[in-house]
């Protein structure tokens, strides 16, 4: 059906989906019966005893009827217990974890706003690490969607008719998410600092994963996909070191930024400030520079150590009265006459602000060193906090830096 997600219909996608569906159907019919038992008489009485159909003397004065009262207490109670039972049994099917020895256990990490999957090591000791951010749909200026969003990059690949256990968690500085597959009728929250578990055993197909616990700006774009492959196809891939069974990821800088979800928070190609600054070129605002001059910065982990702020910076000979002027100079892209007190800055950041030999950060560009340090340590500054992305590889960092130079 057109108005359904992949594999939703029929509840055949996962083994326990039929149990849940059966519980829903039983609930549906019991609800209909109970609804009619209340609303049916209501409508009938409203019609039969309508004002001009009843003489005042005919009005009954019944206020009790013990048998009836017992009937409409006992029967609904019994029906409620039936519903409880099916709620319980369908949950048991969903929540009874299969034997871990015969199942494949995948580690799932949900973070703002991407899903990552880590497999057990294969025969060669290679560990597959998949997942990433959903590619958002592209709209024209009237808001019409010209290109649908895609989940391919962020997919989890599993073999068909095999028990898959998911051990899920979120980074400690992140928030709660929930891994929800409507076609499987399953979800469970992904909680920072805890490991929650789900399992499934599915038919070949592709199924949407949605984040079901509110998690902020891009909550509506935190999709992923479960791709269930025939066992042989999966095994062939698993024992290889290909990125995905559908081939390797694109290794372009843009693809890497997309995959790691950088683009959810950072605009590229425009100067727009989303959650974080644009990655077009490094444009520090005057306020940001002043903030660092006043408070220092100790988050980036450069070899030169913490950047001193306030009095410590003054002790190095920086004239605090010129802070505004210096900030304006840096924010203006280092053009025009250099303020005299910039000398203190250039002793570490270089005459052109591009940093010195990778031991201090560049003020003007996202070079490899800056990217590496931020991705490794995260960053905390005036605009807020960026979490660390320790799993981004050295090649990927170089590719991103190359890409950003363009």
């Amino acid at each position: 059906m057109a108005n359904m997600l992949n594999g939703f219909e029929g509840a055949r996608a996962a083994t326990f989906a039929a149990d849940v569906e059966q519980a829903i159907v039983i609930n549906f019919w019991i609800s209909i019966v109970l609804f009619i038992s209340v609303i049916g008489p209501m409508v009938y009485f409203a019609w039969k005893y309508r004002e001009n159909n009843v003489k005042d003397e005919e009005i009954s004065d019944v206020t009790h009827h013990t048998t009836l009262e017992i009937v409409w207490t006992v029967i609904p109670t019994a029906l409620m217990m039936v519903l409880f039972w099916f709620g319980y049994t369908s949950m048991s099917a969903l929540r009874t974890m299969p034997d871990a020895d015969t199942a494949i256990t995948v580690q799932v990490e949900g973070s703002k706003w991407k899903w990552r999957y880590e497999y057990p090591a294969n025969k060669d000791g290679f560990v597959h690490k998949l997942g990433g951010a959903y590619t958002k749909p592209i709209q024209d200026e009237n808001g019409k969607i010209i290109e649908k969003g895609t989940m391919d990059k962020s997919a989890l690949y599993v073999p068909a008719n095999t028990n898959i256990i998911l051990e899920m968690t979120a980074p400690l500085d992140d928030v709660i998410h929930a891994w929800f597959v409507p076609a499987f009728r399953m979800k469970e929250d992904v909680v920072p600092g805890r490991i929650t578990k789900q399992w499934f055993n599915a038919e070949v197909g592709e199924y949407e994963v949605e984040c079901a616990e509110y998690c902020g700006t891009d909550h509506s774009y935190m999709y992923s996909r479960v791709v269930v492959l025939p066992k042989a196809e999966y095994d062939a891939w698993f024992e290889s070191n290909e990125d995905t069974p559908k081939g390797n990821y694109l290794k372009s800088g843009d693809a890497i930024l997309q995959q790691h979800g950088c683009k959810s928070c950072h605009a590229i190609g425009t100067d727009k400030v989303l959650v974080g600054p644009t990655l077009n070129t490094r444009v520090l605002t005057k306020e940001q520079v002043l903030d660092v001059i006043n408070n220092g910065q100790d988050k980036l982990g450069y070899a030169m150590g913490a950047m001193p702020g306030g009095n410590d910076l003054e002790a190095m000979g920086f004239d605090m009265t010129t802070a505004e002027e210096v900030a304006a100079y840096v924010a203006g892209g280092m053009k025009g006459e250099q303020p005299a007190s910039f000398a203190t800055c250039s002793s570490c950041h270089g005459e052109d602000g591009a940093g010195l030999y990778g031991t201090s950060p560049s003020l003007v560009s996202y070079d490899v060193d800056l990217l590496r340090n931020v991705l490794k340590n995260g960053k905390e500054g005036m605009m807020g906090k960026m979490p660390a992305f320790p799993y981004v590889s050295e090649e990927e960092i170089s590719a991103i830096a190359e890409h950003l130079k363009k």
Partner: protein, 551 residues
């Protein structure tokens, strides 16, 4: 002409001459109730407008009018206003104040000055909540539930919203306390608990929840504030705290709060059905005691909000089991109401239409709640549009609809005038149709896997959002229509007698409409049941000057 409560009042401080100051300082329960209504409906319409804006964004997939952050703030604003400013104070603040003292033959509530203070505490809470729209880094984007660690991490102005919720909670506790004492101490002589009108029973059960459950959310909010500003690490996992603990503490209050909202609404239903069936209510004791038992069981079921939160499976089963026991007394009430109609003479005036319409919408709201009480099914439906549709059917289609029913029922009592029944009925039909068109498709969308709190969605779900949108337009048209009808009724409605509906309870035995400042002329002696009818006429009649029975 005798003087009514619009002409004279008692004040908390001094004897101000200006009418304005007399309203600001009034301790009269009827005036305070009206002021609550005015403020609450102002905010109600702000929240409705926010909801309509969200429906516009959701008309088509993709981002059209709002980005994700704005949408997140919009649904938080909608939720915070609707829950903390509108529906939690709701019926108790309006009709608990206006009619409850009249129904038990009291001159006012037990602590009129405290009542006045509570009203202003409520206003302070409203101001703090709404001013955070302009102060700091923007309105909170956490959702009205403030789940940790999101609320701890976000840069928006969560603190003011938390403080506002705390202040509003305080107002709620004081209202509950005031009503409890009033119901215990100020009932007219002869009126035992089982001679009280059922609306008073609803208020009584609610008052206990307000008093006992609200402090839990107060403590939780304070812990969240301390956590956010001093990093004490109770909920923050990076400091060894537990975010799921927040969910438990939050729902220990917020689930009973659901019954706090619905029980007085059930009370209104129990007033309207016998009056317009011209017949004594069926199963008075059962209805009264089921209110009390819902209030009791309501404390023990909060865990059903956490079926997918990583709670132990054993706890899920227990909470699911207990939850079904809320459904049973609620169901019994429904049968009692319908049985009241049996053999009666059904007068389909506007209040009765609203009551019968609510029987349908709340039956759907209640039965879909039973669906998500089933653990296995809830695992699929949790945090989808199914839950959204369910609680709007229960809260709007239950609580707010019965509030509207009560407004039509007690309108002549409050103003001594009558609205146009024709227009009021049209407004009802518009709202009833719009309401179902707005929310019913969400049950289907939710079942098919449309998660809640999404500002953009997969194209598969478009049709459901579009039907909802048109339903919303019809619903809001009806809503505005209803308020215009009320306004015209207040302005130049026909004058009424004190008992236009031929009702039996004490609030209809007043010397004038609108009632005088100190209500009944004398305190009546109650030696009768609240809904006694004989051949369609109230059995008990009073001389309104001496308040002696003349039947």
């Amino acid at each position: 002409m005798s003087k009514t409560y619009f002409d004279e009042t008692h004040c908390a401080i001094g004897h101000p001459k200006s009418t304005f100051m007399q309203w600001m300082l009034t301790v009269d329960h009827k005036r305070i109730g009206l002021m609550y209504a005015a403020v609450m409906f102002t905010f109600f319409f702000v929240a409705v407008a926010t909801a309509l804006a969200m429906r516009f964004e959701l008309f088509a997939p993709g981002a059209q009018f709002m980005d994700g952050d704005t949408f997140n703030q919009a649904f938080t604003l909608h939720g915070v206003i609707m829950i903390f400013l509108f529906i939690v104070p709701g019926i108790p603040a309006i009709f608990g104040n206006i009619v409850m003292p009249l129904m038990i033959g009291a001159k006012d509530v037990s602590f009129p000055r405290l009542n006045w203070f509570t009203f202003w505490l409520y206003i302070a809470g409203c101001i703090i909540a709404v001013s955070s729209l302009w102060v700091g880094e923007g309105f909170a984007d956490t959702g009205w539930t403030f789940y940790a660690p999101y609320s701890l991490n976000t840069g928006t102005n969560v603190i003011m919203t938390l403080v506002a919720a705390f202040v509003l909670g305080m107002a709620s506790i004081l209202t509950g306390l005031n009503f409890l004492v009033t119901i215990h101490r100020l009932r007219a002589p002869g009126m035992g608990f089982f001679q009280m009108p059922l609306f008073v029973w609803g208020i009584y059960a609610t008052a206990w929840i307000q008093l006992l459950a609200t402090p839990v959310v107060g403590i939780t909010l304070i812990l969240a504030i301390l956590e956010k500003y001093f990093g004490i690490g109770i909920f923050d996992p990076s400091k060894g705290g537990d975010p799921v603990l927040f969910e438990h503490l939050f729902w220990i209050y917020s689930h009973p709060a659901v019954y706090l909202m619905i029980l007085p609404a059930f009370g209104i239903m129990s007033e309207i059905i016998p009056t317009f069936s011209r017949k004594e209510i069926f199963g008075y004791r059962t209805i009264a005691l089921s209110s009390a038992s819902i209030a009791g069981i309501g404390y023990l079921v909060w865990g059903h909000h956490l079926f997918t939160s990583g709670m132990s499976d054993m706890a899920k089963v227990i909470f699911s089991f207990l939850t079904f026991f809320v459904a049973i007394p609620t169901g019994i009430k429904f049968y009692d109401w319908v049985a009241t109609m049996y053999g009666g003479k059904i007068v389909l005036s506007t209040p009765m239409l609203w009551a019968l319409g609510t029987l349908i919408t709340f039956a759907i709201g209640g039965l879909t709640g039973v669906t998500i009480a089933m653990v296995g099914v809830d695992i699929h439906l949790q945090d989808t549009y199914y839950s959204v549709a369910h609680f709007h059917y229960a809260m709007l289609g239950g609580v707010a609809f019965l509030l509207f029913a009560g407004m039509h029922y007690w309108f002549p009592l409050c103003f001594g005038k009558m609205y146009s029944e024709k227009h009021a009925k049209n407004a009802f039909y518009l709202q009833f149709i719009g309401f179902n068109m707005l929310w019913f498709p969400m049950f289907i969308a939710g079942y098919l896997g449309m998660p809640r709190r999404y500002f953009d969605y997969l194209p598969e779900f478009q049709i459901y959002h579009q039907v909802s949108f048109f339903g919303a337009v019809i619903f809001i048209t009806g809503l505005v229509y209803m308020f215009v009808t009320f306004y015209k009724g207040i302005k130049n409605g026909e004058k009424t007698t004190p008992n236009p509906w031929n009702a039996t309870t004490l609030e209809w035995h007043l010397p004038s409409a609108p009632p005088p400042l100190e209500n009944h002329s004398k305190v009546p002696y109650v030696d009768f049941r609240p809904y006694e009818y004989k051949h369609g006429e109230p059995v008990v009649k009073f001389d309104y000057v001496t308040m002696k029975r003349i039947d």
